[in-house]
Structures are given as C-alpha cells and as structure tokens.
Subunit: 160 residues, 2 copies
DNA sequence: AAAAACCGTTATTAGATGTAACGATCCACC
DNA sequence: GGTGGATCGTTACATCTAATAACGGTTTTT
C-alpha cells in the first residue's frame, strides 16, 4: 500500500465522522434549552404545516407514531404545542404551535446558527457555499428527502 | 423570513444528514460480510498497531473496554484476530491480526471504496478532493482525532 | 349495517450504552 | 521485600432507546 496519493481518500468516512460530530454538538447546544434534536424537528415541521396530524408528522419526519407520543407530550408539557381536536376527524389531533412555541423555535434557530458558525469556522464564506452545494447534490442524488434526517437508531459504533 | 438567500443555509444540518446517511449505508454494505462498523474499525487499528492491548485499542477508538469484550469475541470467533498472552503483562492480551483477518480487512476496504463511489456519485473528482480537503480542515479545527469516529451513542433523533 | 382501514395510545420486546464491581496482576513506595 | 494502589479484562447491572404488536375509538367503504 503506497502513501495513498488519492486526494479523496476516506471521504465517505470523513462525511460520517464530521456528520456525527455535528449532530453531537448540536444536541449539546440544545440541551441547556431543554430540547433534544427531535423536538426541534417537530417544532419546525408543525410551524410549516400548521394543523397536521401526528401521523402526518411522523411520516414527514420518518418517526414511528408511537415514538411521537412521548416526544409531543414533552413539548406540549412546556406549552409550546397544542393538541386540538381535529374538526374533520375525531380520532386525530391537529397540532398547532403556540406563541411560546414560536419563540422557542426562534431560539432553536439562533442556537442552530451559532452551531453552524462553530462547525464551519475552518472555511471561508465561499467554501461554505461550495460545500452546501455539494451536500445538497448528494442529498438529491442519493434520494434523501430534503430536510429529513435519517435518524441514528441502531447503527453500530465506530467505523474502519 | 425572506427566501433565504444564504447559500450556506442549513449547512450544519446537511453535514449531519449526509453523514448519518453515509454511516447507515456503510453499515448496510458491511452487514452481508457479517460485520458491523465497529468491527471494521477494530481490524484497521489492530493491523496498524499489532500487539496492542484491548485497553489501548479502546483508547484509540474511543470505545469503553467493556464494550470491546463482546466486539472482539465476535471477531475472534471468526478467526480474524488472536488474543495472545502479552509477554510483558500477564493481565493483558496482545491482539494480532491473523492471515484471514488481513483478507477480511481487504474485503472491508473494497466495500469501503464501493461505498464511497456510491456516496460521491454526484461529484467530480476535483470536487471530491475539495470536499475531502474541507472536511479534513473541519476535523482538525474541531479537535477531532483523525480516523476516530465519534460514535453514535445516544443522540436523540431528528434535527430541526 | 357490517367489515375494513385508520388515529393515537399503551405495553412489550429487544438492543445498546455507560457505570460499577470483581479477580488477577503489576507497579510504586516504605 | 512486602504492602497498597493502580491497571487489565471481564461480568453484572441499571438506564435508556427504539421498533412491534395490540387496543379502544372512529371513520370509511360496500
């Protein structure tokens, strides 16, 4: 094995490594606010699609409905989200962001910007734009849903 | 909220998203070989540092020694790794790759290359080099150990 | 009107992760 | 040279998470 002249050596690993780091740091920054990453995702989707059902939310986020129950309980307990009875379907809830929920989402957005600034400290503005463009192309080419995080369920531990 | 003219919008999220995707796909590719990502990492480190102890391995990989026990049991059960008694310390093992282990590691390397080719399909060779360069700079700037995966322990679910 | 499909919830199962404790051994120090 | 503390691999445990299946209540279909 020569001295690995391939300038893209380990690229897939680097993506995994940096991605996991970004996720972990983001979760750390969210913790003092009393949030987990999943909470932030829920708030964002509910803001963009007011009045949707838990089932629709689960589908949009790739989360099992049974998992949403507890997650929404936590958010609702903070008064950030409302479970109103759906006028069209008495089985379903219609989820709405409260005013406090909008504030919280804004705080999350601020945290998110700080996080990104920290993660990207090693790159110029131009490079950040290039990087974002490439990543967006990967998302599209790989068939990932824009804005939907694969989630990290069971996936083993360290890589090669 | 304007139409988000920031070309780097959501960059940190994109990194998390693509990274998680890369990890998940890599794990999928490894599964038919009977490996988990952690196994691949162990094989690689043991090859590069023949004769090290489990404790040293754990430190190099950021894995708790108690977790290594089962992991190494699995690899040893396939005859890919040997636990020899350390000549210098009767408490410790000295880990060695067997010939079969070297073959397995090469198979993992091949799988890794296929994986990377798939993930990077949307980018030119030049872009891949640029991307790798930027990611390596992030790794350095963020104080990550080169080649050490943060691991995905508990980290919640979906992001914002 | 009856059967099938659907919503949110709960219970259960299964898996993984970090902490703590154990016997055996090594090392430092008196 | 012996004693106490630290270290190595292991086991046991407590915690936590996530997916599956089943439930009551409701809607839709036929």
């Amino acid at each position: 094995m020569p001295s690995s002249p391939d300038p893209a050596a380990g690229l897939a690993f680097l993506l995994s490594q940096v991605g996991a780091h970004s996720s972990a740091r983001f979760a750390e920054r969210l913790e003092p606010l009393g949030f987990k990453p999943a909470h932030a995702g829920i708030l964002r989707v509910v803001r963009d699609a007011d009045g949707l059902s838990q089932q629709a939310l689960g589908e949009a986020l790739g989360v099992f409905p049974s998992r949403l129950v507890g997650l929404i309980d936590e958010i609702e307990g903070k008064g950030l989200i409302e479970r109103r009875n759906s006028p069209a379907d008495r089985r379903a809830y219609a989820l709405y962001l409260t005013a406090a929920g909008r504030d919280a989402l804004q705080a999350v957005g601020e945290t998110s910007r700080e996080h990104q600034a920290s993660i990207c400290a090693a790159m110029s503005d131009e490079e950040r734009a290039q990087l974002a463009d490439m990543l967006r192309r990967i998302v599209a080419e790989q068939g990932l849903a824009a804005g939907v995080h694969p989630g990290f369920g069971r996936m083993g531990g360290e890589p090669m």
